[in-house]
């Protein structure tokens, strides 16, 4: 529900506006006049075009150039220098790229000021005001030239062509030059896209250069008759929808790096059937399809170097960069051959030595001078965005353009080793054509102290790196071998082993006792018992050897606890030997007694004595055992 409410209001507005325009269009002047009387501007009918010669050059489908040579007479009462040029509204807002007025030609050419004037809604034309150098007195004549450059006046017909064939285009426009003033005599010459003309209305007459119409006499103001020329194309219409240029100036490297990212469209007729590589390969042996774009050739300023060519998927290997004395060229091959309606986004960059482009102005400021853009010949650019990144530390940049920009931009950005960042200035211009490839200037202050910023930062960075490595070095020390911790750890390990060995000895002794019990109670076989005992004693001995060997491993270590460990281990060994001997003695007593018994009868006295002795031995053994336990516990 909420969303609904959010969307409704704009919708209604839009509908209203649309409806209004629709009505205006329907009832034309009648409807709009009362509404616009106040706002609408009527051109004072002070002039008459005594002679108009138009030459319409549509040989390039993407760009149409119109040269109008005028001879005007001031038919008014007073002297005036304001001549108005009318351009159809729809043409003006979408198609007009460039308009200039000048007098004379070649060396004696003098450019005049042309500024955008009011909107004449009643005739739905946008007016441009040409100001003569000096006002024209009544009944006197003035001849001058107007130069229009239009974009995309020619549209594809047919809309689709086969892969192998050339497309055709149709031009539809005004037969008479739209002017707010009456015209006495008018001529029109058309340079069509090729000599193969399918149709033309009105037919006019064919000449060597193309078509020619007129002369027409006494043409009323704002008289609109259509001219339609349908001819085969001789060039492929290309268009850059967006061109972003970024110029990074670095005084340190003495280089200006230029990055140009394009979004290029093939505006030719689309393919009837989808692109077929097979056909391309087969035909390719004879002729490449005329509508196919396989190479783009960019002219770079002289001395350009380090050309690179990429797109979103990385480096495009199929490019050729050649740098000569007069100028460098970059020949790019798109990843895929381009056909009608296809798009290709890519960017390329190159370096230019500053020595060619930067100088010091009168006021001591640095001035960078370079072209607004350098693109492909006869390829209009819908939107040009230029950004100049000034060296770090520079300030108060000003930009001087050869034409009025749509908007000026400025900002700040950071690059390698930057601390305070770099100032950027730039501008945006829509509909840029070859005629506008002029130089522009950026002037800025660059204090010499700024030179030392970079080395300073670099030094600091290196210092930091050194400190870091020193820290690593310290770390290295702490990781180094046989420190106290390892010794202690070694002692601990050995301690554990001593514990284990003690346990093992215990178990062995237990085994021995078991064997002895067997001997005593079940079988009375001395030899067997002796054998078992010998085996076990041997095992115990070897274990004791282990004990000593284990403790040896700590003997090398410094530290008192290691020494203590050694000592106690030795004691433990001795205790065990003692304990073992006690056990043996006790058992020997029994064995001896058993021998006696088997030999002859034994009186109770001896029995008792033996018993007491054994008791004593066992008690002693217990004592020793306790000692050992405590000792081990201490380890």
């Amino acid at each position: 529900m909420a969303t609904m409410r959010r969307f409704r209001l704009p919708h209604i507005l839009l509908i209203c506006i649309a409806a209004f325009f629709y009505a205006a269009a329907l009832f034309g002047n009648a409807a709009s006049k009362p509404a616009d009387r106040k706002s609408s501007f009527m051109v004072p009918s002070t002039f008459t075009n005594t002679k108009v010669e138009r030459i319409l050059d549509i040989s390039h489908p993407a760009i149409a150039r119109e040269t109008v040579t005028l001879d005007v007479e001031n038919t008014g009462k007073s002297a005036t220098g304001e001549y108005f040029v009318a351009v159809d509204v729809d043409l003006e807002c979408r198609k007009l790229a460039w308009l200039e007025a000048y007098e004379g030609k070649g060396a004696s050419r003098k450019d005049w000021i042309v500024e955008k004037g009011a909107l004449d809604a009643s005739n739905s034309v946008q007016l441009y005001k040409v100001t003569f150098p000096k006002p024209l007195s009544p009944f006197s004549h003035q001849s001058f030239t107007l130069y229009f450059v239009w974009v995309g006046l020619v549209s594809n017909l047919p809309k689709k062509v086969a892969q192998g064939e050339q497309g055709s285009g149709v031009y539809q426009g005004a037969l008479h030059w739209v002017s707010p003033y009456p015209t006495t005599e008018e001529k029109l010459g058309v340079r069509p896209s090729s000599s193969e003309i399918h149709s033309r209305t009105p037919s006019g007459s064919l000449t060597s250069t193309g078509l020619s119409y007129g002369p027409f006499r006494d043409v009323a103001p704002f008289s609109r008759e259509t001219l339609r020329v349908h001819a085969k194309l001789s060039h492929v219409p290309l268009r850059g929808s967006i061109l972003k240029r970024k110029i990074t100036i670095s005084h340190w490297t003495g280089i200006a790096n230029v990055l140009e990212s394009w979004e290029l469209w093939h505006d030719g007729a689309e393919l009837v059937q989808p692109f077929s590589r097979t056909d391309l390969l087969i035909q390719g042996r004879y002729a490449t399809p005329p509508t196919m774009i396989q190479h783009l050739r960019f002219d770079l300023p002289a001395g350009a170097f380090n050309g690179e060519y990429r797109d979103f998927d990385g480096n495009v290997s199929t490019s050729h960069f050649s740098s000569g004395r007069s100028g460098a060229t970059l020949e790019l091959r798109p990843r895929y051959p381009m056909f009608g309606g296809w798009k290709y986004q890519f960017w390329f960059a190159y370096d230019v030595p500053l020595s060619k482009s930067v100088g010091i102005g009168k006021d001591g400021r640095y001035v960078w001078k370079g072209p607004v853009m350098r693109g492909l010949q006869n390829v209009p650019v819908d939107r040009l965005e230029v950004e100049v990144v000034l060296p770090e530390g520079s300030n108060s940049a000003q930009i001087k353009l050869p034409f009025s920009a749509d908007e000026k931009t400025s900002g700040r950005e950071y690059s390698y080793f930057d601390t305070i960042g770099r100032e950027t200035v730039g501008f945006v211009k829509t509909r840029v054509v070859d005629e506008m490839w002029k130089d522009f200037e950026v002037s800025y202050n660059f204090p010499s102290t700024a030179y030392f910023r970079k080395p300073f930062v670099a030094i600091v960075a290196v210092l930091a790196a050194f400190l870091g490595s020193m820290a690593v070095l310290r770390l290295e020390f702490s990781i180094g071998k046989d420190s106290k911790g390892e010794a202690a750890e070694m002692v601990r390990t050995v301690g554990m082993r001593v514990h284990d060995i003690h346990g093992k000895l215990e178990s062995l002794l237990a085994k021995l006792n078991v064997a002895f019990e067997d001997f005593k109670h079940s079988h009375h076989d001395v030899a067997r018992f002796e054998a078992a005992r010998a085996d076990l004693t041997a095992q115990i001995q070897s274990t004791l050897v282990d004990l000593s060997s284990v403790t040896k491993s700590v003997s090398g270590l410094s530290g008192d606890d290691s020494a203590r460990l050694e000592k106690s281990a030795a004691q433990l060994a001795n205790l065990w030997i003692e304990r073992l001997s006690k056990v043996r003695q006790a058992q020997d007593e029994v064995v001896a007694l058993r021998k006696k018994v088997s030999a002859s009868s034994v009186d109770d006295k001896t029995r008792r004595q033996v018993g007491e002795r054994i008791k004593k031995l066992e008690v002693e053994e217990e004592v020793v055992a306790k000692k050992a336990e405590t000792l081990v516990a201490g380890v």
């Binding site: 087969i282 390698y416 911790g485």
Partner: protein, 760 residues
Amino acid sequence: MAGLRLLNLTRESQLSWLRVVILSGIGILAFLSRLFSVIRFESIIHEFDPWFNYRATQKLTESGFYDFWNWFDSSSWYPLGRVVGGTVYPGIMVTAGIIHRILNALHFPVHIREVCVFLAPAFSALTAVAAYLLAGEMKDSSAGLLAAAFIGIAPGYISRSVAGSYDNEAIAIFLLVFVFYLWIRALKLGSAFWGSLCGLFYFYMVSAWGGYAFITNLIPLHVLALMAMGRFSSRCYVAYSSWYALGTLASMQIPFVGFQPVRTSEHMAALGIFGLCQIMAFTQFLRSLLPARTFQVLLQAAALLAFGGGLAALILLTTSGFIAPWTGRFYSLWDTGYAKKYIPIIASVSEHQPTAWPSFMFDLGFLIPIFPAGIFMCFQELRDEHVFVILYAVTASYFAGVMVRLMLTLTPIVCVASALAVSKLLDVYLKDSNANEAEGDPSSTNGDNAATQPAEDDPVGLISKMLGIPRHYVRSVVNTRWLVVGSIAWIMVMFAWHCTWVTSNAYSSPSVVLASRGPDGSQHLIDDFREAYYWLWQNTPEDAKVMSWWDYGYQIAGMANRTTLVDNNTWNNTHIATVGKAMSSPEDKSYDIMVKHDVDYVLIIFGGLIGYSGDDINKFLWMIRIAEGIWPNEVIERNFFTERGEYRVDDEATPTMKNSLMYKMSYYRFQDLYGGQQAIDRVRGTPIQSSKVKLTVVEEAFTSENFIVRIYKVKKPDELGRSLESAQTFDEGKRRRKTAQNKSGKRSRKSRAGSKKQSE
């Protein structure tokens, strides 16, 4: 080294200084030796999976961590989509993202791509350091340096860490080695600090690679072995407990892992050992109170009880389904036949094949033959850490034998073990002991009269007697010490050569760009993949769905920025089988599938023109098998084989083969290239079917320069409700009539008339 006198440092600090220098040198070397592909081609992301990681990293850097964390990628697995945050190991992406952020914060505006490309080499330098530390724990720093040098250039590791192979393994191997180092450290010192550090990095490892399960099982195994050897100690207890508790808790924070550590069999060993540790520790405690004899019984009883109880509980839980049994991928490591029968997708991946012995030599050079020597030495002085090395070696070598891919986990231990061996040898032979220096002259042991009565039974004496040269000359030549050291040095130099050669020849191709040598030896780049992908990106609608075999899913997403049906994250077998079915069915059947899935474009790889062998016709059998696994009655592998059971594409090919969409799309208009004569498929090396291939449900949209990538557009259903086939035949009939009418019929108008049906 003793002669080193700088900044009058103590000898100790000189050595450590030297160590740092050498180690950093090794690190730099390790980094540089991985840049072949960047120098040859460009800094570009390699192969397949890295493209997804790259895309995810871009997402991370562009829209922040939380968006990445719960990112639902609707542009893959159409129409299902994929919950990326929950199905991915985010370690590598986060790492790259952090590095990128730091660099930019320092005003180094590097592109995220550069970070991704150079991440693997950078981390391999760190791996060298980690290997140094690990081997240092095993023996000493000289062994450490050797180990670092080995792992720095060992192809087995380089294969997964060259610049541009931006995959999980890139950082995982460093983490693996470092976690093991930390574990050994913690075990030796018995310090909770190192233990928890180990846990921390274990967490990092878990976040980075599914292979963390190796750690999860190896460390418990180590502890178990120590217990069995009666070496369980308080240190062991502290280390293991701190590692397990912290590491497991932390690892459960990764969504992809979640509760697996307590719910799956892969993690049960660790849990069980944890319990066992507690019991053992308790008995240890009792041991200090009770007299020894009673203790024996108690200990045994307790241990048995614990073991039995734990086992019973485990079995109970598994049967009751609370604990999931081994997942297929892990299970297929034990039962090697398992994957082929039940999970063909796993079996179909080439890096899941078993390893033949040459590839061991290929990846590890002379380290493999002396690897056992290193293990032998570990057995000789059997300290706790050596037990670890042995266990690692045994398990890892088995895994490497089962899967080529797991050569990666074997490499570090091989490097460490052989470093131990080599450094032991060098220790012995570089030792400047006079007794041996005198070349085993027996008399030389008892002092000065060595020269007066030379023995004749030693090599030097013998040779000198034979050749009649004074023995000191001979001694200077036949010097065992220098012979051994020299030949070892030589072998190591050869090893360096070997590694460089292998790296540059086998492991440095991005497989996105192919390099081919012209007849004049000039290098010529074949860039068809990017050509076609970029065309898709630039000249198809934003929301176009592209159907291709899953291998190319990630690349299409990354380089063409379009929605795909299946990709290399093969989580949904059925969906992949669907694509396989569409590819292997006759046109009308696959058209239904494609329409049901809103497929706009179909992308296939075809190498027949220039002989690119990794194309779809060669992968076709897997598509068929996987599809058959789901629809055994609709797709039948046998029907793609001829009577003699051969897999053919020429006239002998079975009708099923010839009618399959894949076959048709691969060879569509292929004969026309050869004019009149027989068209030859350069991969299969056979002529293809002589009759013309007719396509009705799709139309060719784009084909790359060398025909490697072919993209077809799926036609819209016929607006008169006819089947597309009849519609097309009808059109053709009309065209033929048209041509009949005007002999010099304009190609354009004719085709325009034809196109009306298709374009409107």
